[in-house]
C-alpha cells in the first residue's frame, strides 16, 4: 500500500499497458464538503467480473465514493481508473457506466422498452438492431411480457429488474449500485438479493455495490470494503473479514462480537497469545496480517457469540476457558439459545449455541464458565478510540 503522491507526474505508461483484468481502480481518492473530509485516501481495485461492496454506516463516505466513480462529483484528489484510464475529470455521459439507483430512476413517461432503449439510442443504435437488443435485454430479466408497461405499472421487483436491464443493455464495463434495495421491505429485499446474485453469476458484470446492510453485503459480494469515517477500514472476502477483523469497528460492524480487554503475551505473524483481563485465562487467537502488537501491550479480543458455549463451572475437558461469570439471561430464538453472562469485573458476554449442551440444565443466577467452542473465528484487534456501532 504505497501510493506515492508524485504519481501525477508520470505519464500513462504506454507499453506496460493498463491491467486488463482490473475493472475499476481508485487511487488516493479524496473529497471534502465545507472543510469536512467525507472521503479520504480511498484505494480500491476491482477485478473484471468481480462483485465488490462498499459497506459502512451512513455518513461513512461510501455514496460519495460512488458519486465520484459515476462522475456526479469531482474528487479533490486521486484517480478513478476504469479499464486503466483515468476518468476523474470526464463527465458522466462519457464514462459508459451502468448505474442502478435507490429509487431505480426509471423514466416515468417512457415504457419499459423505451427506458431500456434510451442508452442505446444515445449511442446511435437504431432500427432492427435497437429492437433486437432491447428484446434480448428484456428476455434476460424476464420482462418480455411487460415491454409496453409504464414503470408505475410494475411491481417493486419488476422495476428493479427493468432498472438493471437498462444499466446492462449497453454492455458497460462496470455497474454501480446505490443502495438499490434500501427502500424495500425485508421479504422483497431478500428475494431480490437472490435474483441479483443469480444474474451476476450468469452475466459476470463488474459491480461496485453500496449498502449499509451487512447481511446484504455478505449475501451478494465477492469482496467487501468496509468504510468508516471517510476511509476504507478493511477490504477482503466475506469470511476473511469476519474471521480476521483488523479493528474493533470492523468486528462490530460485520456480525455480532463480544469485546474483551486482553494483554498481549506473545505475537506471531498471524496469531497472538493473549491473557484475558477478566479471567487471567490465556489463549492463542488470530489477527489480521497487518496488525502489529507489542508484547505486554493492551488489545481487544473479539469473541463471536456463535464461537462460545456456556458450561457448568470447572467442567474440565479440553475446552478453553474464556471467562467465569453469572448467567443473567437466556432466550430461545428458533433453533438456538442466546444467553448472557456477566463477569464479576463488569463485562457482559453474549453466547449463541444449540440448546443441547450444559445450558439446558442451568438456571438464571447460576455461576457458569464461558468456554470456546472453536478458536477459529477468534481475533485480536487494537484498542479502539473510535465510536463503535451497536
Amino acid at each position: 500500500m504505497t501510493i506515492e503522491s508524485d504519481h501525477a507526474g508520470s505519464s500513462p505508461d504506454g507499453d506496460s499497458g493498463p491491467d486488463a483484468a482490473i475493472g475499476l481502480e481508485l487511487r488516493g481518492l479524496a473529497k471534502s464538503f465545507h472543510g469536512v473530509k467525507v472521503v479520504e485516501d480511498v484505494n480500491l481495485s476491482i477485478k473484471v467480473g468481480e462483485f465488490v461492496t462498499l459497506l459502512g454506516p451512513s455518513g461513512s463516505g461510501k455514496t460519495t465514493c460512488l458519486n465520484m466513480v459515476a462522475g456526479f462529483l469531482l474528487p479533490d484528489a486521486g484517480e478513478v481508473l476504469i479499464k486503466g484510464q483515468d476518468l476523474a475529470q470526464v463527465p458522466p455521459e462519457h464514462r459508459g457506466l451502468g448505474i442502478v439507483f435507490q429509487s431505480y430512476a426509471l423514466f416515468p413517461h417512457m415504457s419499459v422498452a423505451d427506458n431500456i432503449a434510451f442508452p442505446l439510442k444515445r449511442r446511435g443504435v437504431k432500427g432492427a438492431e435497437l429492437k433486437e437488443r432491447v428484446r434480448q435485454a428484456l428476455v434476460q430479466v424476464e420482462l418480455e411480457a411487460r415491454a409496453k408497461a409504464k414503470p408505475r405499472e410494475l411491481s417493486g421487483g419488476q422495476q428493479q429488474r427493468a432498472a438493471l436491464a437498462r444499466a446492462l443493455v449497453f454492455e458497460p464495463s462496470l455497474i454501480l449500485f446505490d443502495e438499490p434495495l434500501g427502500a424495500l421491505d425485508r421479504r422483497l429485499r431478500e428475494h431480490l438479493q437472490v435474483q441479483l446474485r443469480e444474474m451476476h453469476e450468469r452475466l459476470r458484470f463488474t459491480a461496485l455495490y453500496v449498502t449499509h446492510d451487512q447481511e446484504e453485503a455478505l449475501r451478494l459480494s465477492d469482496r467487501i470494503a468496509i468504510m468508516n469515517e471517510a476511509r476504507i477500514a478493511q477490504i477482503g472476502g466475506c469470511e476473511d473479514i469476519y474471521k480476521r477483523p483488523r479493528s474493533a469497528f470492523v468486528a462490530k460492524f460485520l456480525g455480532d462480537a463480544n469485546m474483551l480487554k486482553v494483554t498481549v503475551l506473545d505475537c506471531k505473524p498471524r496469531a497472538c497469545t493473549v491473557r484475558v483481563e477478566d479471567s487471567q485465562a490465556t489463549m492463542t487467537a488470530n489477527h489480521g496480517e497487518e496488525s502489529q502488537f507489542e508484547c505486554g501491550g493492551q488489545a481487544l479480543l473479539v469473541a463471536r457469540p456463535e464461537a462460545l458455549s456456556v458450561s457448568v463451572p470447572d467442567r474440565g475437558g479440553d475446552a478453553t476457558l474464556l471467562v467465569k461469570g453469572e448467567l443473567t439471561d437466556r432466550v430461545f430464538v428458533g433453533q438456538d439459545v442466546v444467553s448472557t453472562v456477566d463477569t464479576p469485573q463488569g463485562s457482559r458476554i453474549t453466547i449463541r449455541e444449540r440448546p443441547e449442551g450444559d445450558i439446558a440444565g442451568l438456571k438464571i443466577g447460576d455461576n457458569v464458565d464461558v468456554v470456546w467452542r472453536t478458536l477459529e473465528s477468534s481475533a485480536v484487534v487494537p484498542v479502539s478510540t473510535e465510536e463503535l456501532p451497536e
Partner: protein
C-alpha cells in the same frame, strides 16, 4: 437457470372516509342529490343563460326568448367588427400565453427549491393576482407610453401574460419539485448530454404543467377587460373591449351571440388542454 419467481405487487389498502356525520345520515340521499343539483345549477346558470339569449328569434335582449333562431349568430359572423375582435382577442391571448409560458417555466427552473429567497420570489411572482387590475393598468401606463407600447397588441399581451404567470409558475414548479432528482443523473449516466436530458426527460415531465398554465393564461387574457381598455384603448379592440363598447348604447341579442361563441371557445380550449394532458401522460415518448 431456474425461472425467476415473481412476488405479487404490493397492494395498498383502500381506505374510505365517511365525511357525513351520523346525524346527517338520516337525511335521504335524494334530498342531498337535489341540493347538489341546485348548487351546480346556480354555478352554471349564468353560463347557460347566454344560450337562450343568443338563440332568440327577436331583436331585443330579453328573457324568455321570442322563438328560436340562428340569426344573431349569423349577424355576428358577417359583421367585420366582431370578426376582427375575435381575431384580435385570439392574437393577444396566444401572445400572452407564449410569454407567460417562457417566463413562468424559466422562473420555475431558476428559483431555488427552498429557503427565504424562494418565499420572496414566489410572492413577487404572485403579486399581479392580488393587486387590483385598475392599479396595474395605471402602473403599466407610464412605462408603456414612453416605450411606445401603448395601444399595441403586444403591449396588452405582455400585461395579460403577467396575470397568467403565477399559474404557469406554480404548475411547472410543482412538476419540477415532484420530479425525482435521480432521473437527470440516471439520464446523464446512460449517455445523455445535459441538453438531451432537458429535451428527453425534464421537458416532457413538466409539459403537462406548462399546458395547464398556458390554458389558464389564454382564458384570463380572453376575458380581460380593464387592462385591455386602459392600455389598448380603441386601437386593440379585443372581444371584451368591443362588447363593452357595444353594450353601452345597443342592446341587441348579437352581443349575447358573441358571448355564446366566446363561451364555446373557452370550454373547447379547456377540453382540448385536458385531452392533451391526458395524452401526454399516457403516451410519453
Amino acid at each position: 437457470m431456474s425461472a425467476v419467481t415473481e412476488l405479487p405487487p404490493l397492494v395498498q389498502p383502500q381506505v374510505s372516509l365517511r365525511l357525513r356525520p351520523k346525524w346527517l345520515q338520516a337525511v335521504p340521499r335524494v334530498l342531498w342529490g337535489a341540493l347538489i343539483a341546485i348548487l351546480l345549477f346556480y354555478v352554471a346558470l349564468p353560463t347557460l343563460f347566454v344560450f337562450p339569449l343568443a338563440l332568440t328569434g327577436g331583436d331585443v335582449l330579453t328573457f324568455p326568448p321570442q322563438g328560436w333562431s340562428l340569426i344573431h349568430v349569423r349577424n355576428v359572423a358577417a359583421d367585420p367588427m366582431w370578426r376582427e375582435a375575435f381575431v384580435t382577442s385570439i392574437q393577444v391571448a396566444l401572445m400572452a400565453a407564449a410569454i407567460a409560458a417562457v417566463i413562468g417555466t424559466t422562473l420555475a427552473a431558476v428559483i431555488p427549491r427552498r429557503g427565504w429567497l424562494r418565499v420572496g420570489l414566489e410572492a413577487t411572482v404572485a403579486l399581479p393576482l392580488v393587486i387590483p387590475p385598475v392599479v396595474l393598468a395605471v402602473a403599466w401606463f407610464g412605462p408603456w407610453s414612453s416605450l411606445h407600447m401603448l395601444y399595441t397588441p403586444l403591449g396588452v399581451a405582455v400585461t395579460h401574460a403577467f396575470l397568467g404567470l403565477p399559474f404557469v409558475y406554480l404548475n411547472v414548479a410543482g412538476a419540477i419539485n415532484s420530479m425525482d432528482p435521480q432521473l437527470a443523473l440516471a439520464a446523464r449516466s446512460l449517455g445523455a448530454r445535459p441538453a438531451v436530458v432537458f429535451a428527453r426527460i425534464t421537458f416532457p415531465l413538466v409539459l403537462p404543467g406548462i399546458i395547464a398554465g398556458v390554458v389558464l393564461t389564454l382564458i384570463f387574457s380572453f376575458d380581460e377587460l380593464i387592462l385591455s381598455l386602459f392600455l389598448g384603448g380603441g386601437a386593440v379592440a379585443t372581444l371584451p373591449v368591443s362588447m363593452w363598447g357595444q353594450i353601452q348604447y345597443v342592446t341587441s341579442p348579437d352581443i349575447a351571440a358573441v358571448a355564446m361563441i366566446a363561451t364555446v371557445l373557452t370550454i373547447s380550449a379547456v377540453a382540448l388542454a385536458l385531452g392533451i394532458q391526458v395524452a401526454v401522460r399516457r403516451r410519453g415518448r
